[in-house]
């Protein structure tokens, strides 16, 4: 009897111990079968930045595994938490072999982890050095997608406005300056009932799912013009020369929107998207990536048909803006983890190279994800917004570069975003935006570069 209970006790203790260990080890256990393959060929673990393309990456990874037998794992960080996810994932023994940084500022955090890509096939495929993060001779990151943003508009609704009696502007070609844009927006807003819309612009929501459109993308405009005047591409202290223009466009957005400006603090990205695709607003500041979210959906019977999409440059009233085009650039750079095993690095380089050269890969990037990729074998994307962006370039308009990648930190963006929100709600004044923009830049730059 005693022996039995001893055995039971031992067994129970063993169970406990086993369950403790199992908790830690379950990650490896599930992929036990593929372990053998990995040992031979290495594996790929991609930490993806873009939630809107998660599904497409998963299926591309699966296709690659079927073709080559190399295990590719794609994990997508939740919107706005990439840095957090990356920080914790990089600490694990199975760290991502392929990850992203958002530009030169993002690179400073992760440079010690980046494999030098200068001899890689991927780098040889890039069409221009404008699309890589280079320091000296070393190539730390390669942009894999070039994107464009501006003010997307609903052609059907805008045409309805052009045909109305109250319209003083008669075609989209005439809108080539801030003043024209303002006239159109204000006339639409004044006659919103006649046009059957709730407002000229979608709600400029300042919820975390939407505020990047203004604290980052719109903030790019005053930064761009200041850099252009000075002929620089980054700075430790911004002057804020074009902040009056920033105010002008922000005022236009918040005063001619689908909702009262005091309500903007709680409006989300989905709110704006829904307003636009259900035809409740004419203008929507966003980019080529938004096509998937707004295109016509058979089941829901809502959204815009391809020919209904139009896009305008973001005019802020700077001189010479008639020649200004859309904002084109990248904040998605691939980096390969240099601390990964040699096999894994090789597998990762093979995978990314396959993505940008093979038929399957380029097709998936162009058609499924709607990306314009800066590689030689790129296929033309079917995304109509991309076609519009190309049209602007061939019309000789000057693309606005993405200078927001030189913004010193996320904290700076949040500070400006908060000030913008409070200005819109009437609880703060514009001076706070200016201070956060100009003085905040200096402080944050110093903090990040000491």
């Amino acid at each position: 009897m005693k022996k039995v209970s001893k055995l039971v006790a031992l067994g129970l203790a063993g169970c406990l111990a086993a369950s403790v260990c199992a908790g830690c080890g379950s990650n490896n256990a599930s992929s036990g079968e593929s372990k053998k393959e990995e040992a031979a060929k290495g594996k790929v673990y991609y930490l993806n930045f873009k939630p809107e393309q998660d599904e497409q990456w998963q299926s591309l990874a699966k296709a690659y595994t079927e073709e080559t037998g190399v295990n590719v794992q794609v994990v997508t960080a939740a919107e706005g938490t990439y840095e957090q996810t990356l920080t914790s994932e990089m600490d694990k023994s199975d760290a991502p072999t392929l990850f992203q940084v958002n530009g030169p500022v993002g690179l400073t955090n992760w440079k010690d982890y980046c494999y030098d890509l200068k001899d890689s096939d991927l780098y040889k495929q890039v069409t221009s050095d404008d699309f890589v993060l280079k320091e000296g001779d070393s190539v730390y990151g390669v942009a894999y997608v070039v994107e464009t943003y501006g003010i997307i508009y609903n052609k059907t609704l805008l045409n309805k406005y052009f045909e109305s009696d109250f319209a003083t502007v008669k075609s989209a070609d005439e809108i080539n300056s801030f003043d024209k844009l303002k006239t159109v927006a204000e006339e639409i807003q004044a006659n919103k009932d006649a046009l059957g819309v709730d407002g000229a612009f979608t709600s400029a929501g300042m919820d975390a799912s939407s505020d990047w459109r203004f604290k980052t993308h719109l903030a790019n405009m005053p930064i761009y013009y200041e850099y252009k005047d000075k002929g620089i591409s980054s700075t430790d202290a911004i002057e804020g020369k074009y902040l009056d223009n920033y105010k002008q466009i922000w005022d236009l957005y918040i005063n001619n929107a689908t909702c009262d400006k005091t309500a903007l603090a709680s409006k989300t990205g989905t709110d704006a998207e829904t307003e636009f695709k259900t035809g409740k607003a004419v203008f929507f500041q966003n980019g080529t990536w938004e096509y998937d979210g707004c295109k016509y959906n058979e089941d829901a019977k809502e959204g815009l048909k391809d020919e209904e999409f139009g896009m305008l440059p973001i005019y802020i009233g700077a001189s010479g803006e008639e020649k200004q085009g859309l904002c084109t650039g990248s904040e998605n750079y691939w980096c390969v983890n240099k601390n990964a095993s040699e096999d894994d690095i090789k597998a990762t380089l093979d995978f990314v190279n396959w993505c940008v050269t093979s038929d399957k890969g380029t097709k998936a990037l162009a058609d499924d994800m709607g990306f314009v990729i800066p590689f030689k074998a790129a296929k033309e994307a079917t995304n109509p917004l991309v076609a519009i962006a190309n049209q602007y370039v061939s019309d000789g308009k000057e693309p606005v570069s993405w200078n927001f990648s030189s913004i010193p930190s996320e904290t700076w963006k949040n500070g400006v975003g908060t000030a913008l929100t409070q200005y819109a709600a009437g609880t703060g004044d514009w001076n706070a935006v200016v201070t956060a923009f100009v003085d905040g830049w200096k402080t944050e730059y110093a903090a990040a570069n000491k």
Partner: protein, 289 residues
């Protein structure tokens, strides 16, 4: 027999001990070490001495969030315990449907903090939008919003502990006191509260530490907003509690991870000290039956 069992002591303790060391003791000491380091990922740190602590003290947002947290803790501890005590008292008086009420009051506890934060954000905004405001328009809204949210979530849990306490008071004490001519307020003051001290100790301890460490609800409800832009262009967030401040510091840039860690160590010391003082003070008032 006891001697024999002692031989198995290690076998039974080991699994739990191992888990405790792996999941608590080791990370704890590593965390203290990291607070003296500059690092991006924790496995790759360089020692920098007290720099992080100096930077933490120079950060005005740390102090501002400390005072906000203190104010929040005081108000929420009082509110939660008073409400929980009253509801617990009422529900042990034997009114009909007590069990249904107990279950209902307890339920908010089963919902996660982030979800609760967003739900209450919708509720508050739904009301405030009628007046052209949102929960982040004013720090006062954020403060009371958090208090309401925390009361709603925690009162039910504390109520269960108080109910257990009420049921543990022997009836003969009340009878004896009544025969001696004690009035109702006297019964409450001289018998109920002294007999309830163990429950009060636990409940204040739980609410105190929970409120101090509050993070999810804070993140989801206001995320620290509104903010005030200081002279250096740095924004100080008005409804940011300590835990959220530490989190935001950690991810500010590659130089601030260690500063966040240093703040976290100080945070631990503050919470531990306050909790121990509270335990000592309330324990002294407990009586033996």
């Amino acid at each position: 027999m006891i001697k024999k069992n002692k031989r198995y002591f290690l076998i039974f303790v080991l699994p739990t001990l191992a888990a405790f060391i792996m999941a608590f003791v080791w990370p704890f000491f590593q965390g203290i070490y990291l607070s003296f380091c500059k690092f991006v990922t924790t496995s790759n740190a360089t020692f920098v001495g007290f720099d992080n602590y100096i930077a933490a003290f120079q950060d005005e947002s740390f102090l501002s969030s400390f005072w906000f947290t203190v104010a929040f803790v005081i108000v929420s501890v009082v509110f939660i315990n008073v409400f929980a005590f009253i509801i617990g008292y009422v529900l042990t008086m034997g009114i009909r449907g007590s069990n249904i009420f107990r279950t209902t009051f307890f339920m908010p506890n089963l919902i996660g903090g982030i979800v609760l934060g967003y739900i209450w954000q919708l509720i508050f905004n739904g009301i405030l939008l009628n007046y052209g405001k949102t929960i982040v328009s004013d720090a006062t809204f954020g403060f009371w919003g958090l208090i309401i949210l925390m009361c709603w979530q925690q009162v039910g849990y504390m109520m269960i502990i108080y109910i257990a306490g009420f049921q543990g008071i022997p009836n003969d004490l009340y009878e004896a006191a009544k025969i001696d001519g004690a009035s109702k307020p006297q019964l409450l003051r001289k018998i109920t509260i002294p007999m309830m001290m163990p429950s009060i100790t636990i409940c204040t301890f739980l609410t105190l530490t929970n409120s101090f460490k509050l993070f999810d609800q804070n993140l989801a409800l206001t995320n620290g907003l509104p903010g005030v832009v200081g002279a250096t262009g740095t924004t100080v967030y008005k409804t940011q509690m300590l835990a959220l401040n530490i989190y935001n510091t950690f991810y500010q840039n590659a130089n601030t991870r260690g500063v966040g860690q240093a703040k976290a160590v100080m945070f631990f010391i503050i919470v531990a000290a306050i909790a121990l003082i509270q335990l000592y003070c309330t324990r002294k008032k407990e009586v033996q039956q």
